[in-house]
Each structure stands twice: as C-alpha cells, then as structure tokens.
Assembly symmetry: D2
Homo-oligomer: 396 residues x 4
C-alpha cells in the first residue's frame, strides 16, 4: 500500500486483522457477501500487508486518531496491536512527489528519495518490493495506491508510449510519484491498483508495459461516496426520460485528504473525475453541473455532501431531489481495497493482462472508460464472476 | 380512463393535446425519448380519450385548479380547450365503490350505478366501452384505472378462479369497482392497466379471464416518486454489501389522493406496496423500515417526501443517506400513463396475452412480482424493446 | 436524580466528574459560559450526586453503552470511575410507576415499592432523601426527575388542591410516581425539577405545597433538540408576518426513551408538549401541524429529526424551509440539568418560592406557561441574572 | 425605485396594486400584520411609484417572466395592468454604473448618462426626482435602491467627509451610481433606502449630508432569506452555550441577481455581508465559516440554500443541524421594501434624521452596525413602534 500510514491503509490493516480474528463482519466487502462471495478468492489468512509512506507518524498513531474520530473502536485497536506492529515493520520510506514539499511530518528519507534521479527512485521501489515478496514468501504482489491526491500534471508527449517514457527516464526527467510506483510494480511482476485520481498506470506508456509483462491493473479514483450515489441515481432520470436541469454537488471533508484538496492544483485532479460521470450518464454534455469540495476540519474523517438535482418533468413541471450523504471515507474505502486486491490476485492467477474492465464499478474514472452507470458497471462485475467461477476447460 | 376528471387524467388530456400541437416536449415519456423511442408506437394523433368518473366537476375545472397549483400553464389550457371539451363529452358516470360514499361532489348517477347489482354494473361499463369504440372507430381500447385508491379488501375465496367469481356475480355479491371495470374491459376485448393500488385485474379470476380472451394487462400502483427513488438507490447498498439498519420514509401530499389516503382503510392499500420493495431488494425481511403518509393540504399536488437511510459500513461505522423528493405527482404520472397505453396497444397488436411483465418498472407492485430493483426492471423493458423491434418472422 | 442509571443521569455524573478534573470544557452549560457565567453559582466541587432508579443495571454499564454509542469517551469513563462508583453507591431503589410493569431489567425492590400504599411510598422516598442530606452534610437538596416518560393520566379532581390530594393519599389512591417524588421532595425541604413530560409538581395540589413550604420548583420536559430549534425559528416567521401553512416534524430516536415512547400511552404525554409551541408562537390555533416520534433502534442515543415548514409569502408565493437535526439527546440534556440544579440551588439560597419562571427557556411546557419563543424566554433568564447579581439590599 | 424594471420593483408595483384592490393579503408586511400594524402608517392608496432603470425591457415584460416563473399570478397581472402602465410611464433612464457595461438590453440613454460628468449625473437625477414630486403632488419622497449589486470598490479618501467628496465631484472623479443616487436624493429632501450591498449612503460623506439636511436613511442589503434564517438560529447556539465548529452555507440562485453575482467583483460585495453575521453573533472571529453563491439558471427567481452547522455539545459530542431554504427572493423582498418605505415616510414626518437604527432587522449589514441577532433587532423595531405610537407631547 502506497500511503501505508494514511487513514485508508490503517483501516485496511486493522480491518483485515479484525476479519481474521472474527471480530468484524465483512460488511462493505462484495467479495465476501452477496452474489460474488462463492468465487475462489484468496483467503484473508494469506494476506501480508506492507507499504510505503512519506510521513513519519506510525500506523498506531493513525489508529489512535481514527478511534478519537469514531471510525475504529478501541477494542479492535487493542486486539489487533500485534498485527499492526508487524505491518508497521514492513512499511518503507516512500518517494516524495515533487510539488508536495512542505508537509508537516515528512520523513526526511522520503524527501531524499524525492530528490533522486527517476531511475534511482524506481530502483529503490523495486528493491523494496522484491524484498517484501521474498521475505514473506508470497505467490503474488498487488501494489495499491492510497496516497493523497497528487498535484495535477498536464499531458506530456513522453507518456505516449513506453519507448518515449523510458528515454525520458534515461534523461532524468522527473515523473509523478504515482507513475514511478506503477512502473516499479510492473517491473516486479506485481499487479497495480490506483485508488486515487493521480496519474498512476493510466499513461499509455505504462499500459504498454503492463501488456508486455502480462500484468493486470485498474483504477482510477475509488468511488466511495457522493459519486457512488450520483451514479446510482442518474440512470433513474435517464430511464424515466426526465430532463435534468442542474446537478449541484457540495462536498465537505475534514481529514488530510480534505486538507490536500484545499490546494487548487490537487483539487483539479479530483474535480475532473467527479464532474464527468453525471453528464455522461445523462448524455448531456451541456448539463449545468457543479461539484465543490470544501475543507471543514471539524468533520475529520466524516465526509458530508449535499447534492441538489433540479429537473423537469412532463408539462414543464419543475421538481427537485436533494440528498445529504454522511459517511466515513476511510471505512467506505477500506473494504473496496480488500475487494480490489482479491480481484487483482485472482486476475494474476488467471493470467489476465491489462486493464481489469470488470472493476469499473469501483472507480470514478475507470481506466478504459465505459458507462458510469453504477448498476451497469456492477452487472459487468457479476458477469465476470459467472465466467470466473466456471471450471477451466480441459487442455488449458 | 377511470377517474377521468382527476388530476392525472387531466394532465394526460392536456398533455396529449400539447404533444399533438407541438406545445410540449415529450419529457418523462420513455417511449418518445431515449433507447425505446424508435419502436413502432401508436402516434399521438391516433389517440382518442374517454372515461368514467364518479365526480361531477368538469375536466376544465380540474385544469383550472392545476393551473393555480403551478402544474399546468394557462397557455396550454387555453390552447387545448377544444380537445378538452371533446374529451369531457366522452366521459360517462362511473360506478361508485361501496365504501366511498360521502364525497363532496359525487355525481348522483355514479351513486345510482354503485347501488346496482354487480352484473348490471358490468353491463353498464360494457355498454359504455362498446359505444366508445364504435363511435370513434377504434382499432384498440386500453382501460386505465386512475381513480383514487379504494378501501383495502381482505382476500375472498370467490376471487380464486373465474368460475367462483362468476358464481359470486350471479349471486349478486358486491365487488370492488376496480375489479368490475377490469372484468368489463376484458369482456370488451380491451387491455387493462391498473395504475392504482386497488385490486383491479390482480385477482386470479381476472388473470384467468385475460388469458382466456388473449388480452394483455398490467399493474399495480404507478411508481412515480419516492418509491422510484428507493428502488433506484437500494440496489446500490446491496451491491456494495453495506448493511442497511433502518429505512424510514415520510411522505406528505395535499391533493385528493392525500385526502383519500388520510383514511386508514385506503391508506393500508398504499402502504403495503411502499414498504415491501426495499426489504425485497436488500434481501432482509427483518429490516427496520417505516413508511408514513400524511395529508398536508397546503402542498396541493406537490408531494414532498423525506427518506432517512441508516446504514453500517466496514468496521462498524454508522453512516446515513437522506433525501428530500419534491415533485408533482400528476405531472410524473401522466407520461407513465401515456407510455403504458402505448405498451398495451403494442401488446394487443402483437397478440400478447396476460401480464405484461416487461412493464414492471412502472409499478410499485408488479402483477407477477419479480425484482423491485428499478434498474433491473428497466433492463427488461429495454430487452423487450429489442425483441419487439425485430421484423416479424416469415409465416407468422 | 430520579432515573439515576439512565443515559442523562449517567452523562451528568461523568460530565460533572470531568468538569471537576478539568477533563471537560463546560460546553452547553449556560451558567458557565456566556452572559450568566459570573453569578454566584454553586461550584462543581460542592455537588454530591445521588438518586433513585427502578432498573438494576449499574451506572457503569450505562456508561459502557454510551461509550459504544460514541457519546462518552473511554478516557473520561476510565478517569471518572471512582466518582461513578461513589455515585452508584448512593442510588436507591425507586418506585415503579403502575403502568410500567414488564420492563426487562426491573429491580424487584422497585416493584415492591410500586405495590406499596402511596403514603408508604412517600415515606420511603423521604427517608432516602433525609439520609442523603445527612450523610453528605448538604446545605441544599435538588430533586431532578430524569426518569422515562410516564403513561399519560387524565386530570383528576383530587389534584385540584392540597387538601383533596392528601385525602386521596389517606384513602390509598395510587398516584403517578413523578407526583409522589415531588411530594416527598417538598416534604424534605428540597427543590424539584421536572425534566420529563410526566405530571410531577405541575398539579395545583403540589404547587400549593411548594408555596406553603417556600420551596422552588420548575418544569416540565427539557427543551433539548427539535423543539428548541422550532421555538428559535418560529418567531422569525411571526416577526416577518409570513403565513405558515404547515409545520410537520418527524422525530426518530433509538434509546430507551424511544422505546418507551413507542407505546401510545407514553407517547401522548410527549406529543402534547411538542405540538403546542409552534401554534402558540405563530398565534394560529388552526395551524396544520404534525409531530411524529418513531423508534429506530439503530440510532441509539442519536436523535434525528426532520422538520418541514411550508409557508406563504407576499403575492401568494409558496416557499419552504426544512431542517434536519442530528444530536445526542443525553449530551444535550446533561448540561441543562447542571444549569437547572444551579438555578434551583441559587433560588433556595435566595428564598424564592414557587415556580421559577425564569427557567422557561429550559422546558417544552413551562409550568407557568408564557411565551414559547425561545429568545424571549432566554431574555427573561438574562434579566433574572441581572437581578440576582445585584448585592442584597441592607436590612434584608 | 432604482432598478424599477427589475424583479423586486415589479413585485412591489403589482403587489401594491393588488393590496389596494383587495386582491392580495398583506402577507410578509410587518407594518400591516402583527404588533406594528396599528401605527400611523401611510396608507397604500397614497403611494405613487416611479423610478430609474438602465435596462429597456418594460415592467410588463418583467411581470410576464415572473408569471412564467410562478411568482406572480396571471390574474393579478391582468387586473393590475393599468397601474403597471402608469408606473412604467414614470420610469426614467438611469445612470449606468461604470463597470457594468456590456449588459444585453441596456437603454442607450442610461449609457449616455453613465458617461456624463458626475455633477451632471446628479443634476439629471435631481431633475427627475423634483419633477416626480411636483407632478404627483407628493408630501414625501423615498428613494429605494433595488438595482443589481454593483462591483465592489475599495475605500477612497474622498469618501471620508462631505467637503472631500464634493471636491472630488468638482474634479469630475467618477462615483458608483448608488452613491450618486443617494447624493441626489438628499439634495431633493428625499429619504434613501439601500436594499443592496452597494455603497449607497454608507459613505461618511453622505451620512454627513443626511444629517445636514435632517433626512433619514437606512441600509444595506435586504435580509430576505438564508441570512435571515442564520441570524434567527445562531442566537440559539449562543444562548445554549454550544460550540459551533463550522457553519457552511451554499446558495444557488438563477435570476439576474444570480447572473450578476457570478462575476467575482460583484460577488465580493455580497459575500462580505453574508459571512460576518454568524461570527459576530457567536462571538467567534475564528469560526470556520464559508458562504458560497452559485448561479443555477434553471432556478430562475427561486433561491435555494443549504446550510450545514457542525457543533459540539457537552462531553465533546459532535452534532449537526442542516437546513434547506427554498424561497422566491423577489416575493420575500417586495414586502420588506413596502415596510421600509412606510418606516422612512414616518421618519420624515417625525423629523428623524440620520440612520434609522430601528430598521436593522431588515438588513444584512445595518448602517450603524449593532447586533446581527434577528430577534434582538426585531425587539428594537417593536420598541420604536411603542415610542412612535405615543401621542406627541404638548408644545412640540
């Protein structure tokens, strides 16, 4: 996990421990409840967690904060302390993304990594991943990007194909950290999941590398809260042939993610993904739609969003639907991460290369596009489940 | 249209006139916008409206009220006055349902009809429908029940099959008006659509009759507002494996429908349909769920509903989604009625007998059950559209 | 505290300990922050808590539940354990109110007390209060009713004056427990605060007794949440000369209070108080107003209420205001209890007898009536503060 | 009325006609309903309306739009057509404010006026006002600024006193139009009401002029909707000693006002007033508070605002109150304008000079400051009413 000391990774770590010990039910985990539960998923007992982070605070400090914020219970944190300590011991200094200087509790080693040549950065990550696999005798490694949203970068010609990208590396041109991690993951034969809006494996150059190596990847930007509701509701307006006049969404959040997003360059990455889904589902590129994100520190990890949908029915009658969503982003994201790791591991086992299109329902901006309609996306995951549950044909 | 002078029928009448004259866009009409628009639907120009009602106030009085309430525009009402007058001339006195005595502006002829023997009641409706078809030289007749919700009636043994039902008629046992209209419709070779929670064609006896005569029918209880949103949202919680702890829904409405529903016997019919959908989609028969309906006269035709959904995510975190729906029930219902008439007419033309299962997305309590998941229901309508758009095979 | 093991009393006990130890800020306590803070209030250090309860579960069990529900922090509960144990040791078996038989964890001694003759019941409470005062060497005692809402009782002639009431006691006629506690409190020279909708000291007979003994009392029914907001907002509509058409309020709560209120007889007591305030402030006895209370167990101590206010402005324009309140009833009530104890103790010291009219802002149904306008009520408390802060005149 | 063809002025004109003809009730008019109704107010029959505007569209075109948007009824517009035509005939070309060039339907005469020297601009307005008074034989004239919000201007030294201001005029330095109108009004012996956030009579120079001439004035920025609710609710949190952690307000509006406010320079004027009130009432200059305004064209004149208030109670418990306000800004503003004209006319009659402090409850930024607590402000208006209703003392 990149961002291994953040809120989501901390929830993944304690949550996994709780699942193993029978302290938690697998609520929110689609691979463990409902129609997908019977597939041949990797059991929780076989998971080993590790990761990178650029901050110094420990996983148990993050956990203490999540207890204060009412996300984790102190019972779970106490019971899972040994697992958490083992996980902490496997976290390595990350690579600081260039525009992110100035954070409060930066690990100086991450700053040093951030100042290396890109090829040296990649080598560092490859070394860490290789050691992680060897030390834990793992059959498969899945790298999941859970770091804070990176500053938005404009398209670059060097991203267009693998050769151009590798020349740029050769010339020492700095790259977004999320891209370097993805490159290193593919170098090591790992799958890659981009749960953030950062560039990650979305570049054509990296897609080419994944295909070359026969490795699966997916992303971008986990669909956890307000966007999930939007993409569940918008198809209803389309199906009923109603005319949406305006869709306004106001998000407030108070954790580190909110703080990072209060900077315009980082916010831009996020808002791009949030705005498009509704226009696409409603097939109205001119739809009046606004998405705002405000940092409200007192909310801590509890995101609150208000959406106002103004629409026209028959006879010109104007109506509205408004909703308020109040949820813990980390507690919503963690089970999706567990699902995606299972889906990636299964794909590695089944030899699936390239973008895992059946994971689109997990993302705000699925790597290969397609519909944003959540129900249609979920339908494809179910279909994949049917395919994957069939016994392999003879001779394969 | 049964309930031909009510708000929905009035919206259908002026809306149809507005569509023909190009004054209105077909917003809210799925057979006219979107993926179903290309089927071989009956054109608006060929529709002739008639109906029954138990009240005396005229269609144009209803229209004036809807203008005051901001549903119809005065421009449309003025422009469509000739069409409305022609429709008014085709409305006949209805059959008063027994428990409904005491309404303010009852047509005394409807009261007299209500006091007849059931067989005489049926004959009366058959005469009206036969004359309507003949006078207007119609190829097909579709009877749509838009009357106020009837008082709930317990199951009766005589409803179990057609022979028992006809014996009961023979013996003069009074029947709910919605049932008599359905029986008469099938007698005349008409299709029947039950847009209300009343019994209508849902009785096994009437289903048998429809099959015998090779006639299509569908119902019950139009899915226009809060329940529509519920059945669009609940599948999201199921797909994400979240645990819904409570789903509370509070409805307020102010029109005649609200007044009728403020009587317990009538409300019971309605609430049964509203409560079940969510429990079924979430596959949790024990779900704590409450649906309330309150009469708030000042809201007139504008229904406002607030739903509160309390749910648990991973790690025991408790979250909520709440929504406020504010819509005009009549303006939402009228385009669904136009869709259902087109679907019924197409079914008559294609020789489809029995319950039109592909119309389930239009109803709170589809006659043949099935999933309440709106998106899955709509998917079936789309599939039907694909089948129905294929050219007939040779030799058929 | 009557109901000494309930959620509010538990919050009072741990909250008081936290205030003394500097672990908590006095948020929500008007006698400690803001314009009233400088009066000569009894300091927290001098408070000694005791009480009665009819249930067996301990204060620390209640506290554990409040930790699970996110109201109390485990840090506070651990730090205050000695204070809580001392309080627990001062709790005595209460008097079961007749219609309340059948509760799960009833203390059999409370059931026995409930079966005694009323005069024996009073003697029991008097004995407990006298011992409490003596053992703790207290200057003043304030009895606060925090028990669950009692079943509603119709007016009785014997309540009209003290003589009639005492004859009824003599004849052994059973009385509501809240009334018996109030009688016993006045017998012992204690002040009495009724924080519930139960009858308590509201009977003319008991008012007479309080005057006779020169004792202060106040009530009824703490104004903690939705009603507080209502009485803060309604004056705005009145001042702006707007016409409120409908005020609908839907309350959901999940704690023991909610469970008790799900029984019609108990709910009636509550709803009476909640409905009247708005009609009174808007000076419109015919206002269409509805207040509902639903038991939603998953909400635990977190009450959620939705109010919809439909109003008419100039030109007949119809508008709305809706609000959602989400708060912990116990955490809102506890500081009001601390305020009321301080106000009662000050009144005892100043020799004020009868109803403390300046406490009206704390109650849904102030004992001596008066405006429900929260701001006007609070203005009177401020005025009292000015009067009470002046040095006593010579010769008094 | 400056902005005589805008939505508010149009509502004032038709509303006044409706009041005179008995077609409307005086809802929303505090001088006509409630405790202030009995003062010696100028009767509606004596009002004569006139004004200035920089746009060409007629009052009846504005009215037609307001009918389409559901604010005015066509019945009222038809019945009041003669009054509206007479009003229209009294509207004169206004003075275009410099930064406002580029509007769609500008009156070229207003553009020409906008290009004149400031002294010539003032003379033009003075001529118009003098003629208006003479032609209609009026006892008193009240100038009300209802124009769209002007671009924000930084403080200027020339505004500090009347002499400096008049030197600046002498030197031909351009001034905001709202300031020129106020200067001209005072020149003519008229009262001045600034219902907008523009500078108007707020400059020390103009306050000096008003005192010199013995004329009353008031402003700024009518408190019609979301801010009204805020200033009615915030005192409740203060009185209960609760700690507000964050107050977020999101406003959406779709009329010309919304369009103008979508430009940053104009929005700044507005947001300054909206943000301060809550911090002041809660006495917390550091309060995390955000106010947003978004232009949502489909909402037309119907403003919708959502506020989220996050607060802390006792024991650290975090709670929230959220509200959605949905109202017609014009229908809310028009009755306040009628009130303010009556209050200004009474002040002229009573010889009150300078800022009318008792009108603070009508404004987001009262000219002489003071509390923003709506209830306290309204209390002062009531007190003024008591003073003004007493018979004049002998010898005065």
């Amino acid at each position: 996990m990149i961002g291994a000391r953040g809120s989501i990774a901390t929830c993944v770590a304690y949550g996994l421990a709780g699942l193993r010990d029978g302290l938690l039910e697998p609520i929110g985990i689609a691979t463990a409840r409902g129609p997908l539960a019977d597939l041949d998923w990797a059991p929780w007992e076989t998971f080993v967690l590790g990761g990178h982070d650029v901050c110094r605070r420990s996983v148990s400090e993050s956990a203490a904060e999540l207890v204060r914020h009412g996300i984790l219970t102190s019972d779970l944190v106490v019971a899972s302390a040994p697992d958490a300590a083992a996980f902490e011991a496997r976290v390595r200094p990350g690579i600081l993304d260039e525009p992110d200087v100035g954070f409060a509790d930066l690990d100086p080693r991450a700053s040093r990594n951030g100042a290396l040549e890109p090829r040296a950065q990649i080598e560092q990550v490859v070394r860490d991943l290789t050691a992680f696999r060897a030390e834990n005798a793992l059959d498969a490694v899945v790298v999941v990007n859970l770091a804070s949203t990176e500053a938005h970068r404009a398209e670059r010609p060097e991203w267009a194909d693998l050769a151009a990208f590798e020349s740029a590396l050769q010339e020492g041109r700095m790259q977004p950290a999320s891209v370097l991690y993805a490159y290193a993951a593919f170098q090591c034969g790992a799958a890659y999941v981009n749960f953030t809006p950062s560039r990650g494996s979305s570049l054509p150059a990296l897609r080419e590398l994944a295909m070359q190596r026969g490795l699966p990847h997916c992303g971008s930007d986990g669909k956890t809260g307000e966007t999930l509701v939007k993409t569940a509701l918008a198809p209803m307006f389309a199906a009923r042939a109603l005319r949406v006049l305006a869709w306004q969404g106001y998000n407030m959040l108070g954790n580190r993610d909110g703080e990072v997003l209060s900077e315009p360059a980082h916010r831009e990455s996020k808002l791009r993904n949030k705005g498009e889904a509704v226009r696409a589902i409603l097939n109205d590129p001119e739809l009046h739609s606004h998405v705002g994100i405000d940092y409200v520190p007192s909310l801590q990890d509890w995101k609150t969003a208000w959406d106002f949908i103004h629409f026209e029915g028959f006879l010109g009658a104007r109506m509205s639907l408004q909703f308020t969503w109040s949820g813990s982003d980390s507690a919503l994201a963690a089970p999706l991460v567990l699902d995606l790791v299972r889906l990636s591991e299964l794909a590695l086992r089944r030899g699936e290369a390239g973008v895992l299109e059946h994971t689109a329902c997990y993302f705000k901006a699925p790597l290969n596009g397609g519909t944003h309609d959540f129900h249609a996306q979920f339908g494809r995951l179910i279909e994949y489940g049917h395919r994957a549950s069939k016994p392999a044909r003879t001779g394969r």
